[in-house]
Amino acid sequence: MYSMKIDVLHIAKLASLPLKDDQIQKYEEQLLEILEYIEKLKKVNTDKVHETSQVTNLENVTREDSTAPSLSPDQALTNTKSQQNGSFKVKAILEQ
């Protein structure tokens, strides 16, 4: 029996995803099903295998310290639903 546990509420909080109460059970089932499938990786021997995080094999791709034109403040703010005096506005953050 697959005995993994997943705390959906904790994960959703970490991911800043509001979930409706009636969805939690369903997500838990679906996620566990996927995780159970993924278990098959345990069978693979990866003892002397290095990790691949990029497939390009590129290294040292950088840019010179030169400046380029920025967006205008209007362009930067064009898609926000809440602004004030040229800044993006959110409800007060309670701590610094």
Binding site: I6, V8, I11, A12, L14, A15, S16, L17, P18, L19, Q23, Y27, Q30, L31, E33, I34, L35, Y37, I38, K40, L41, K42, V44, T46, V49, H50, E51, T52, S53, Q54, V55, T56, L58, V61, T62, R63, L71, Q75, A76, T78, N79, T80, K81, S82, F88, V90
Partner: protein, 469 residues
């Protein structure tokens, strides 16, 4: 033949010869959209005015003798490509009114090549899906049989090309999202080598897997299109400096003596009809001069597991910027599939699980890469079916996420390895299209085009369209 059913190659010639104008060509596409889109739901945004304006400008340049590679050609863009001043939604309620202040590099390149963008196509929201049913703006239908899915995630782009709404369309392929819908709609779909085409400006799904590609009716058109989009971009640090050849040059050279591998793991467990269709394709390739060789890619079976750890992990991070502050709506607007993937990714990256999942997956990824590297010592290219099953009906898999994920079993390993894949029509099963894919070593697009073109010119499936010509 109606203008919107031409290939790019033929249309370019016709425009040059002044047989018709770009305005006429673009209008033909817009007419088709007006007629069919209500039903097929391929487009989220149609840029009628802008497109006609661009077409008029193209006609001026054509008259002037300008020789741009896509001058006056109507194309569509998957709605995750940032288009300056034109709404870009990722087919999600989160971005339903987002208007980018900049163009994706590929969009700039296409515009500079003279292409006319007729609209933004529908997709599985955030590119999460294999069927086209995951859109917050309604499912896309397959014009070959409207009860069936067109495949995803680049569903709208595939449908726009096969139904004559555009002569080409851009897409992305992270786990099969170009090749699968291409194979379900009887068109050509290219997933280039990772990094061959710039990702700058394309809403990221899984950064180490996303490939920018396109749909066309023929392989020649596909090569023409790649000539425009390929190349290093200073805004995308993962684009290698490899020179862009003229992808059209070696097309007619045939495939005599080419060694093409058939991985045994790719034909185990596929539906019998798919297997039969595949066998016929192999016969044709043999007839065309290729040597079919049996090979093994031993770690194939782990591809989906590796993919569904790495991809959601990167997704969970890439979708973190959508907090509703600078643009878009808040995170409650994410659909179920997006939420599922974000949570899966957050979980596998979290404290205590990183080593067992993400780190492990990165290691198995290395093994999958090595499988291909070893194979290419024995063969020049690999051929396989694209989908393990015949295309399915709308609604059939939508309530079973894992079942849906398994549709990618023949396509994901190519993304994990970063190698190119070309999906080409290989026939019909009960009236529904089916395709085969050619996979090559990195930067072997020329070779894949050559094989695809030779196969396509022999089989001529591209001559069939879902509607009358």
């Amino acid at each position: 033949m109606k203008l919107n059913n031409l290939t790019i190659k033929k249309a370019m010639q016709g425009l040059k010869d002044r047989q018709y104008s770009s305005v006429e060509l673009v209008t033909a596409c817009l007419d088709q959209i007006r007629m069919r889109n209500q039903n097929l739901n391929a487009f989220i945004t149609v840029c009628e005015d802008k497109a006609l304006e661009q077409a008029k400008q193209a006609d001026v340049l054509i008259k002037d003798g300008q020789d741009l590679p896509l001058l006056g050609i109507p194309i569509a863009a998957k709605d995750i490509f940032s288009t300056k001043g034109v709404k870009t939604t990722a087919a999600s309620k989160v971005l339903d009114s987002y208007i980018p202040p900049y163009d994706a590099t590929v969009i700039s390149k296409l515009k500079n090549a003279g292409a006319v963008i007729v609209g933004k196509t529908n997709l599985d929201a955030w590119a999460h899906g294999s069927s086209g049913e995951n859109s917050d703006f309604g499912a896309v239908k397959n014009p070959w049989n409207e009860e069936y899915v067109p495949g995803g995630s680049s569903s709208g782009s595939a449908v726009s090309v096969t139904s004559g709404m555009a002569l080409a369309a851009t897409g992305t392929d992270t786990g099969g999202s170009i090749r699968l819908p291409a194979s379900f709609t009887n068109i050509v779909g290219l997933k280039p080598t990772y990094g061959r085409v710039s990702r700058y400006g394309i809403i990221a799904m899984a950064s180490s897997l996303d490939c920018v590609g396109h749909f066309t009716k023929t392989v020649e058109d596909s090569a023409l299109f790649l000539n425009v989009t390929a190349g290093k971009d200073s805004f995308d640090a993962t684009t290698p400096p490899e020179i862009v050849p003229d992808y059209l040059k070696s097309l007619p050279n045939g495939i005599n003596g080419l060694r093409i591998g058939v991985p045994k793991e790719y034909i185990e467990g596929i539906e019998p009809e798919i297997f039969n269709n595949f066998k016929s394709s192999l016969k044709i390739l043999g007839k065309l001069g290729a040597e079919i060789i049996n090979i093994s890619l031993p770690n194939t079976e782990y591809g989906i597991a590796v993919y569904y750890i790495i991809q959601p992990a990167e997704v969970s991070s890439n979708l973190a910027r959508f907090d509703g502050i600078r643009y878009g709506n808040d995170r409650a607007s994410f659909g179920n599939e997006a939420k599922r993937r974000i949570m899966l990714g957050t979980f596998t990256l979290s404290v205590g699980y990183y080593d067992a999942y993400y780190k492990k997956a990165m290691k198995v990824r290395t093994l999958i890469i090595q499988d291909f590297e070893n194979a290419y010592k024995k063969v020049d290219a690999i051929v396989s079916p694209v989908s393990p099953t015949v295309v399915w009906k709308i609604g059939e898999k939508v309530n079973d996420p894992l079942k849906m994920y398994l549709s990618d079993v023949l396509t994901v390993n190519c993304n994990l390895a970063g190698i190119p894949g070309l999906s080409v029509p290989s026939g019909f099963i009960q009236g529904l299209p089916v395709g085969i894919q050619f996979l090559g070593p990195k930067f072997s697009e020329e070779l894949l085009f050559r094989i695809g073109h030779t196969f396509e010119q022999e089989t001529r499936f591209f001559e069939k369209t879902p509607y009358e010509l």
